[in-house]
Assembly symmetry: D2
Homo-oligomer: 347 residues x 4
């Protein structure tokens, strides 16, 4: 049994991770860390665990955890993980970090977009960006996973094959993304109160959302040149789900089948990536509660653009599910172990 600890267990992503690991046949949860709930039973914070999990939330002691656990998941605010993780810790355990600290290799860009000094310069090069379908081989060789953001997972996977193959104009990329409210976390905020976001839709952090440089860096690796793109997140009155509507100019004339072949080439063998049939497009309801990414596209001959739609459950493939997928890879388990559940509908 893999011994796991979850730091930040009482956030929505941490909670979802508890749910998935509870059903994972090879994992034993050893500790739930939650600074604001120390001493409180987890099933009193999340009553869905009534009679299922009676663990008590603890303060994080990274040194002790490194000795006792095979893996530590960290679902913490940015800046925290890079302060506590170091070479010594990484020699004793594996870290899967949900935060942004180890996602951007370019620390200058990190410091510019996050407005804080990066504290983990010495270990950043060990970190692997845990987008499993893209970086599977690198993941196997590290102890420090930067688990990708929710918007970024959906956006990068939607665009990756086309960017890699050089078939779209790299200056023309626009990502218009829509997220359920759980993406905003469980912290108290007026803007996330029921009456404030129910029955309304808004764009936010236009041209300034921190997932932008993360998408750009990863797509730039694929393109082998620097990409700058537009990313606009929107808040949708629903609990879960992200839909990314991606626009780009085709760099050359391509048929539906041409593009389909490209996607098949990259994702044809990927269990968690499902290509929709021609004329069918992803909807968040069809991936809810699952680790799937659904991707579909349409070529618009009138404008010379391609529109690619990607859909994920932000708390699963966009957070906890992908973290477990990373864990499976790190420990040599079957990649879909404990994750191969069908989406739940209607839910």
């Amino acid at each position: 049994m893999i011994k796991a600890a979850i730091a930040g267990a009482t956030g929505y992503a941490g909670n979802e991770l508890v749910r998935i690991l509870t059903n994972h046949p090879d994992v034993e949860i050893k500790a739930l860390l939650a600074h604001s709930y120390v001493g409180k039973r987890f099933d009193e914070v999340y009553e869905n665990y009534r009679d299922i999990n009676n663990m008590v939330c603890e303060e994080m002691n990274i040194d002790k955890l490194a000795d006792e656990c095979d893996v530590i998941f960290m679902a913490l605010p940015h800046g925290v993980a890079s302060n506590v993780v170091n070479d010594d810790i990484l020699k004793r355990t594996k870290i899967i970090d949900f935060g942004a600290d180890f996602r951007l290799k370019d620390i200058d860009i990190y410091e510019k977009w996050y407005g804080v000094k990066h504290e983990g310069r010495d270990i950043i090069q060990n970190a692997v960006y845990g987008l499993c379908e893209i970086n599977r081989e690198k993941i196997k060789q590290t102890n420090l996973i930067a688990n990708p953001g929710c918007y970024t997972t959906c956006s990068i996977l939607s665009l990756y094959p086309l960017v890699s193959e050089g078939v779209i104009d790299l200056e023309s990329i626009i990502i218009d993304a829509k997220s359920g409210v759980s993406g905003a976390g469980r912290g108290l905020a007026l803007s996330n109160m029921f009456d404030e976001c129910n029955e309304s839709v808004k764009a936010y952090k236009i041209a300034s959302h921190r997932h932008t440089p993360e998408i750009e860096e990863q797509l730039s690796y694929a393109a082998k040149c620097n990409i700058t793109l537009s990313f606009t997140p929107h808040l949708i009155p629903m609990n879960r789900g992200i839909l990314a509507t991606c626009y780009a100019k085709l760099a050359k004339s391509l048929t539906y089948d041409d593009v389909r072949n490209i996607y098949e080439k990259y994702y044809g063998n990927e269990y968690f990536i499902r290509l929709t049939k021609k004329g069918i497009f992803p909807e968040t309801r069809w991936v809810k509660g699952s680790n799937f990414v659904d991707i579909g596209f349409k070529i618009d001959d009138r404008t010379g653009r391609i529109v690619i739609i990607g859909a994920i459950d932000n708390l699963v493939k966009g957070a906890a599910g992908q973290a477990v997928q990373n864990m499976n890879i790190l420990f040599g388990l079957e990649e879909k172990k404990g994750l191969a559940f069908a989406p739940i509908f209607p839910a």
Copy 2:
């Protein structure tokens, strides 16, 4: 492997059954029957099954199914199952019926509330009302399960211990129930259109809902006398979940601990029934996606009443989950096999 067929697979309950059985380690789905979708792929009706289930919907041939399958689940409109199930079929396979045809032993009452002639008089006595926690032993001895209704499961389990122990005034029972829209099924109806039920709440079928006699019959068995009660269903703008708020006069003075002991006596060992702690009450979000029933209560000394709150997921414990629980009992499997997943939150 248990070979199972699902008739009415394209309704919400049927679809949820497919999801649960897909993950059940001992079951193989042999056929999906759906009169309105014959020849259509199931994953085109429910795209959550994309790349997971590529079966094609078929017309029901009960005779053929009885030979090929160990169990047939029937999620069909009332009146259908009683027309096709007979002694011969029951000798060859097991039937778990989601409909109302075999729930009421008193056929006169059935015909009065449903307004149709009952076609299965000869086999009705073989049927066992599949409320697992109450009728477990009888379930083991039959081939014909009448899977309880959603409102009824929640209502009966909430009241059963108190009625059995004779501690409430049997003439004083009122059940005020609230259900998500999936309880109304997937059939086209103006009243179930998004804009018609979103942002609104209503009572419906006041003093006339067909689950009323079902609740009354089962509680009457517990009380060993005839019970007549008030039942009022309400439609709530959410996908899933039932909350039953039950009121009754206490027949004698009881403390919280007295009542708690009664519930513990009946349900203390039941995996799927969870009693909330004192001062905590069930909410549908804490059981969503799971087979749990949460029950809590409050004694109101001012009025001499007890208020009992029960919560279930109507598509799981109120339909497909309980059906699988029944199947597990019928086939001698561990009762929670394939059903022991934690509720999903937020969802």
Copy 3:
């Protein structure tokens, strides 16, 4: 023009009052008071007023307001109004208080349910409970209106005729009420975050909600004897609306028409009370955004009970609309002036 001030303007009820008064032909809003937003423009707190209302929120100075305004609406936490309103203030202006301070004549009961000492003992007898359809004549003769609570308005109006006429068993009354989330106010609370109440339903403050004694006191006046009843509020995932499902034993055998005649006798001439036709029951969507109360009922011969359903918009008839109705009465205006707008659907 009536000069009006609104204290607590930035709560949901205060905000709704601003909206209604903005369209009222005889009212000029002189001041918006909001302790937490002093110095902030109102249209920056509620952007629906962009280009409509550019007033700046102020600290409340009751003495100054009493000189400058004909009426002060107070939408403040309990305990505040009774501390600042006194005989001197009431000689200079009229007060319409949304809070609970002046609703209960029995100060002992107030102090028991609210857990605080009442500071306005000397003026409580001047206060009139502003349930317009019941206390219209008394309202005309006071300067201090206790504007009823949302649950109470809906509950009392639903039951008042039957209680007054003595046709129901007064010990049998149960009110099972359902409210949208705006009833919980705009204060930050985890339980009112979108993901915490969306897609779920719960009962809360069972047998302990503070609107209980308010309903009991008013119905006791109607019955001319003390009434004790059960009241259970529920939170529904919608922005606005209250549905009260009321149960009582009929004290004698009555037909639908008998009961209908009683309701017609009391409400036949009331513009804001609408009786639904036989077989039709109120739904909150049909009153949304309006000052109407819809009432319907069903006699259940099986149980000897009557079920009465009432529906209101909690922010209009349950708060701001009724306050304006009270103002219209206080100032001798047509009672529906500025309030006769049709409900908005779908919304």
Copy 4:
């Protein structure tokens, strides 16, 4: 009093028109036409009109209506209005058509996108596209108004000043629009059932929605050259509201103030268009229930793009409200008469 008839009164747009006209001081509703509800009382179709409007739905007799009414609003499926409106009718009354029949001047484009033969070739040139803020003068001189579509109103108004001034690259325009479900109408459709669209988001009619040529034609007039653009509508789980997120490359370097000045030049005096302050962006909740269009924008120096956000209530400014605004112009009334109500929040 202006005598008005409403054809298609039982659709959501027709119903909203009834609501607005009910409160309009200068209008008398003479007839409600609804093919599917002939003989049924309107307040039985829409119970919000209980005790407010007891008219009975009739079959449309255009000839009779033309004699009796000053204006006929037509909220009908495309193809109907062009079949019944002709020169003779237009000599006797004014027509405000909610459908698409008279919106596109280029009949070839109409027939291509709608797939039907256009029946009103002879009168199409009389029609004025009723986007009030743009075509006010032309509206005054016609009897036939083509009331704009919901997506188009929001999209065109968001982009019109920038296109007119030639400051954006006309080949770079992308409109990513999000609509509440009422935009899909009240017709029965599985895709609009509560459980099918609640808690999900999807794009639909990608690169093929019929509002595309309408937006293109109007913006082409502004640009004085042909524009081809990308338009992607999305369905959002809410009743009302449209948000249009518009992207374009700036044709030259512009500051926030430069662009602000352009918007002020075009819309500075428009009552129904509200520009949000710098750093603030439109959200549909702030316009709900009103005839306002909120517009805000952000210049993204990294990409050289401008992102413009527009928000409307699809049933008001996107349908019934704009129709009344057109009526006010046609009859020489103050343009905001009966329309100057504040948005309702939370709702």
